[in-house]
Amino acid sequence: MGFEFSRMIELMPEIWVAFGQTLYMIGISLAVAIILGLPLGVLLFVTDRGLFLENRIIQSSFGFVINMVRSIPFIILLVALIPLTDLIVGRTIGPAAASVSLSVAAIPFFARIVESALREIDKGVIEAAVAVGATPWMIIKDVLLPEAKTSIVQGVTLTIISLVAYSAMAGVVGGGGIGDLAIRFGYYRYDNTIMIVTVVILIILVQLIQQIGDWTSKAIDKR
């Protein structure tokens, strides 16, 4: 069975719903990743050795937890977090439920990206801010985040694209989405039309995200 145009038209409503689910899951988990991962990444950085809020205990304990979450395969995390999902969204299936696990996976991922973006900043600039008598909050807000913003935007791009890939596994808890559609129809049922359409949609989506990300990071860079 090859690509059939009529089959594609027939499945349009389903593809459209799946596309919406993908955007929904990515939107929620990205928002959570930024809201919690950004401060976490900053915390990891500023508590590191030689920095203005150096704190070995905080640095290593948060680092340990982050590594732990990141070492769990996503598909296992998805199932292991079912009780937590139940607690937060009151149900264990559907895109909202899948968003919980996606968020939990995305937070440490994004935190590490932020941390490494901050590491690229010239230490001298931070030092100059310390020498000027600035408070830690001012240094974070006016030096670290502005100086790292282009790398952070690239990090957001990377996170979104990773989320697109992870969200394909959301089908395990009935999350739906484009990736799930590809697996259920294209892979299990050998429906090549669905397979081709979904893969093409994913390719276009990822290319688009990358383009927008690159463009944004270039547009805000003043160097």
């Binding site: 001298g124 600039v125 020498a131 000027v132 008598g133 600035a134 001012m138 006016d142 913003k149």
Partner: protein, 337 residues
């Protein structure tokens, strides 16, 4: 006034502890421009970074305006730092913020009211002659302009001390000169004490009042720039001076000389009194200049001449005593053949 007492900084590395600064004591008077010279690794950078506690000293004290900085922490230390400006070799401006925003950052650190910031930024930019670059990003500025922004930022909160960490080492000679002039102007007009570290003796000669020479973490020589230039006590000091005022004479020329070779040094206004001419006329000897120059250090002339004198021995000896009487310092480099 800055008082450094028995300051040491020891770094812990994988290979054991390395001494950066070794029991340094210095007093830097208010309104002075104080230069610290040394080769890289001598500890001068560690020392200046200890002065605002960017590096925490291992032991010793640093008093700035009577306050021991080593005892301060958190908010108190930040408050003390507002009064100690610092500029850097690589400027360290926030690249994603405009010139005005970079300066405003320092003002906000001091809690300057919002409505006063703009006027103060304009005032500071006028002081460093960059009023037209207010809304430009650092990437669009030349090295010298970036350093001017650094200076404006450092002066934002009316500090009593300005620390310069190799502030001109990344600049070309002309730009260096203009930055040094600006520093001098700031020192004179605002009575700000300046401490600078450098490996360029030119910088010290140009603007410093006093200087210290560092080697292996220790201060091995300290004094007024003029005294050290005219009478260095250590081989290292001599070496540094040679980098600015060199009196090397080709061997071939020396070998042709028959008479006695003297190095005559005049300090201060004596340099201009024609002592050498008088001497030659009075004692009936022949003088032949091999090398010489008059350097102006802290606006005081320092004359150094190498000359060959020929005549009878007695007359030459008398001539030497005469020049010494008139305030010259005479050193016999080689006796006559």
């Amino acid at each position: 006034m800055i008082e450094i007492k028995d300051l040491s900084k020891v770094y812990q590395t994988k290979k054991g502890s390395v001494s950066g600064v070794d029991r340094v004591s210095l007093t830097i008077a208010e309104g002075n421009i104080f230069g610290i010279v040394g080769y890289s690794g001598a500890g001068k950078s560690s020392l200046i970074r200890c002065l605002n506690l960017l590096e925490k000293p291992t032991s010793g004290q640093i008093e700035v305006n009577g306050v021991d900085l080593t005892k301060l922490k958190g908010p108190q230390l930040r408050k003390a730092r507002l009064k100690i400006g610092m500029i850097f070799q690589h400027f360290h401006l926030i690249s994603q913020k405009t010139v005005a925003e970079n300066i405003a950052f320092a003002l906000r650190a001091a809690g300057t009211p919002r409505n006063e910031i703009e006027d103060r930024v304009t005032e500071l930019l006028e002081m460093v002659s960059l009023a037209d670059k207010k809304d430009v990003f650092p990437a669009q500025l030349s090295g010298g302009q970036k350093q001017r922004v650094g200076i404006a930022r450092a002066l934002a909160n009316n500090p009593s001390v300005l620390l310069c960490d190799e502030a001109t080492s990344a600049l070309d000679p002309n730009t260096t000169l203009s930055i040094l002039r600006l520093l001098k102007k700031i020192n004179r007009e605002l009575n700000i004490t300046i401490v600078l570290i450098t490996h360029e003796m030119n910088v010290v000669k140009e603007i410093c009042d006093r200087m210290a020479i560092m080697q292996d973490g220790k201060v091995i020589e300290e004094g007024s720039v003029y005294d050290i230039f005219s009478n260095p006590q250590t081989p290292l000091a001599e070496e540094f001076i040679k980098s600015v005022v060199s009196f090397d004479i080709p061997e071939a020329i020396l070998n042709e000389c028959r008479g006695r070779i003297l190095k005559v040094l005049f300090r201060g206004h004596v340099a201009g009194e024609g002592v050498i001419t008088d001497t030659i006329q009075q004692f009936n000897i022949k003088g032949n200049f091999l090398h010489g120059s008059i350097e102006y250090i802290q606006e005081r002339p320092l004359g150094i001449f190498l000359m060959e004198v020929q005549g009878n021995h007695k007359a030459i000896n008398k001539a030497v005593s005469y020049m010494e009487e008139r305030g010259a310092q005479v050193e016999v480099i080689r006796n006559g053949l």
